[in-house]
Structures are given as C-alpha cells and as structure tokens.
Symmetry: C2
Subunit: 261 residues, 2 copies
C-alpha cells in the first residue's frame, strides 16, 4: 500500500518523532511505500489568506470557499498545496500524527487541513441540492481510502476516559475523525493514542512502540469506526438530522452518528 | 469593563468582520473599553517552534512545556506573545471570534492559543501533586474573568442540532469552551453562533446583528455554562474522574462535566 504520514511536531528528537520513525520503519518493513509530510521541516504556511489564491486581484474580496473552488477548478492553487493534494490522491492510507495541544491539533496541522482541503477537492463535491447534500460523510474524493490518527499526550488515560475531566478521547477527537477524515470519504480507523508521554522510561517506550507496530501491521484489516453515511438513508435531507429511533435508547451526542454494532 | 476581542478572519469585508464591528460598536456605546487583536491584520505567527524561545541554544532539544515554563518565568517569551498575555491580564472579558472551519477554529487562532497560553500562565499553574492537579478547570490565572465565543458558519442550525449530522454545536465547541477557556479559569458564557452566513440577506443580517448586540449588552449578567470545577469536590484525584452518581441518570460524554441545573 501507499501511505502518507503527515507529521506535526517541532522537535525531531521528540518522543513523537521517535514514534513516527517506528511507524515508518514498520510500514517499510512490510513492503509499503511511505511518504512523510513533516510540516515543521517543510516550513508549512498555516494561514489561509489572500496569497493562497494567485488569481484573485489584490483588491478582490476573499470569500474562502468561492476562491478555493475557483482556484482548484482552474488548477491555480499554490504549488505547496497542490503537492499535498497529489500526495493525498496517491495514498491508500492517510495518517495524521500530532501531539494533542489544547485538546486539538497544533496550528500547523490545522493549517494543512484549512489550505489543502480545497472546495471541489475535500468539500463541495457531488450534487448539492435540497435532496442530495453533497458527497460527504462516507462519500467523496477519498472514498475507498483509510485514515487514522496517531496522537501523543502528556495526560493520563484516566483523564480522557468516559468519566475523565477532559472528556472522553473519542469525543474530543470526533471533530477530527468524523469532521475532517470521514467527511471527505475516508474510512477512519480507531486512533492510536499514547498517554503520559512526558514521563516515559525506555521500558514503557518499547511497550508503546510495540503497540504502534501492531497497529501498523493491521492497517488493512482493522475495522473502521462505523460512522453512519450521510447518503445511506439514516438522515433526513436537507435537515441532515438522524431519523428517529435508529439508535439504541439513551444514545446521545456524537455517539448517535455511529451505528450500533 | 475591559474587553479583548481576538478576531480570526482573513477578509476585512467579510460578514464576520461586519459582526465584529457590530459587537465592538455596541460595547463601546455601553462605555466599555475594547481592544481587538485582529490576527490576520497583525500577521500573527501560528506555529510554536524553537524561535519562540530565544533563550534556547540552537541545538537544544525543544520540549515545548518545559521551554515555555522557563521562558515565561524568566520573562523571555517573544514580544508578540508577551503583548497578548498583557491584554489577557488587562481584560475582564475575552471574546474569541472566528469562522468554524472544519469544525474548529482557523489555524491562526489555534496558533494564538498554542503560543500565548504559556506554561505557568495558562497551564502549569498552582500546586501539582497527586492530591492537587493544578489550578485549572475553574481556577487559574483567568479566574474571575468571563469569556465567550462568536462563531460564524455556512451550515444550517439543524445540521448542528442534537441529532444533526455534524454533531451538536455545544459538543463541537466543548474542546474550546471547556478545554481552552474554562481550563485556565474563565467563566464561559454560552456561544453566539451565526448559521448560514453565506446566504444572508440584509434583513437576516440585521436580525443577527440585533441578537449579537443583545448578547453584548448582557455580558455581565448572562449565566456562565455551569461546568464542574476540578477542585470543587466532584472529581477523584489524581484520576480526575467524575465521582459516581453525581449526574442525572443517562448523562454521558461531555455533558457529565456540566452540573445539572
């Protein structure tokens, strides 16, 4: 398989970087082809702005979605963005790896999403009417591809558990897994989350590395999170609300959008 | 009161900018003092990296929390970061205003959080032991101050409702409201969310502007979201899990961390 790993950590000697190396090595050992977008090393530009759309006149008002759609269709996006889009089309699997900063991804990775996910590419795909709200949430440009997160955090697993003060990790990652990965069509694998990374001794690191290798060995066979497909019949259109009574009694919040197994 | 509005939109003629102007004007009319950090206009640097810590030697390994804590204590953070920290200390109310991009804030605003929220300032505050896990989630540097979000989105309110496909807006914003604002001590007001902003006619804009003015008039009196305080007795320490049976039966996920009214 072809694997794109997008890596967002400023320090090449960090634990995150060590885990990235473990993942890449394991994937290559299995005969996969791996490309890494190391955003800090690439000096990735994080802010979407006027300069992202060279065809806009200096005085033109920037409407991001409109400008993005026009530039994508005309192949006038900037070269750095086009290169990342090509990698996404090339890859069978996308891995986003980052430290959890303030319960989300670092700015540089958010900027990769904001800029690379152009209109017509990652959104604004498919018919858009009051009976079909685009090809998204299970359909779209990346349908047939897989994606997963590798997340490192200094916090304890308990703090991210069902009753933990931070909120459950799966809920904290839902806006990314569901809203950024499932939205443009990826099948989303459960994340690999490494906790307490600031206090790791070498035994613990080896244990963590072993678990990560295992996940890299099972990329093709791990079952994706069974998110409901927007156009699979579960949602009313155009309100895009889940039809009544599809869920197990008592299910609320983000969990509504996962089919009961 | 003193109000800091942090604004993250690349276009000064956007609907977001128009709403910001409505908010600022209303606040000033009431006699409040308002400062605006317009991140795009300021050309804010989004990426936290080695250059954020001038006292680090070029070859020093960057450990973000450690470097941040050391630089904050020695008053050696960069001038742009120090200026924002001073504004935060000055303000009675913090407003973050942004378009919802990919179910979260734009990269440039995440970069403001990542860089301004230094260790010792927004985290790493208070005693940190196995019996007191820091002054956070209701305590901390910003205790006694209020904060709220102003969010614009092209999507429909139904899509962000309890059964909407995007997930409920309050859950999508929880990592920000709870994890970024409540964490360092702010009392967090319910967000002002403007939906369908791409298809707004002037009547709808006036209606929206009126609702926003109302929120600006009630900044001092609106009840904050009643998040549970970490050190108020509801959580076991150090696992930081909510004690059993505090919640109404059937409550799960993020809602566990809001007291039942």
């Amino acid at each position: 398989m072809k694997i794109l790993l997008v890596f967002a950590h400023p320090e090449s000697r960090s634990l995150g970087a060590a885990l990235r190396n473990v993942a890449v090595k394991e994937l290559e050992t299995q005969g996969h082809e791996v490309r890494v977008s190391d955003l800090y090393a690439m000096r990735w530009k994080s802010e979407i702005d006027h300069s992202d759309f060279p065809s806009l006149a200096p005085d033109d008002r920037l409407h991001v979605a409109a400008a993005s759609g026009k530039a994508f269709a005309a192949e006038r996006l900037t070269e750095d963005v086009k290169a990342e889009q090509e990698k996404l089309l090339w890859a069978d699997v996308l891995i986003l790896q980052f430290p959890l900063w303030w319960y989300s991804m670092p700015a540089i990775l958010k900027g990769w999403i904001d800029r690379v996910y152009a209109y017509g590419f990652a959104y604004g795909v498919g018919e858009h009417s009051d009976t079909h709200w685009g090809d998204r949430f299970g359909e779209g440009t990346f349908a047939g591809k897989r994606a997963m997160l590798i997340v490192t955090t200094g916090g304890w697993e308990e703090h991210y558990s069902a009753r933990g003060i931070n909120g459950p990790i799966d809920d904290l990652l839902f806006p990314i897994n569901h809203g950024i990965l499932f939205y443009p069509g990826f099948s989303v694998l459960p994340p690999f989350v490494a906790y307490k990374v600031d206090r790791l001794n070498s035994v613990n690191f080896e244990c963590m590395a072993g678990a990560l290798r295992k996940r890299m060995q099972t990329l093709e066979t791990t079952s994706p999170i069974p998110y409901r497909r927007q156009n699979g019949g579960d949602y009313l259109i155009p309100s895009l609300q889940l039809r009544p009574k599809l869920e197990n009694p008592g299910t609320t919040g983000f969990s509504l959008h996962i089919t009961d197994r």
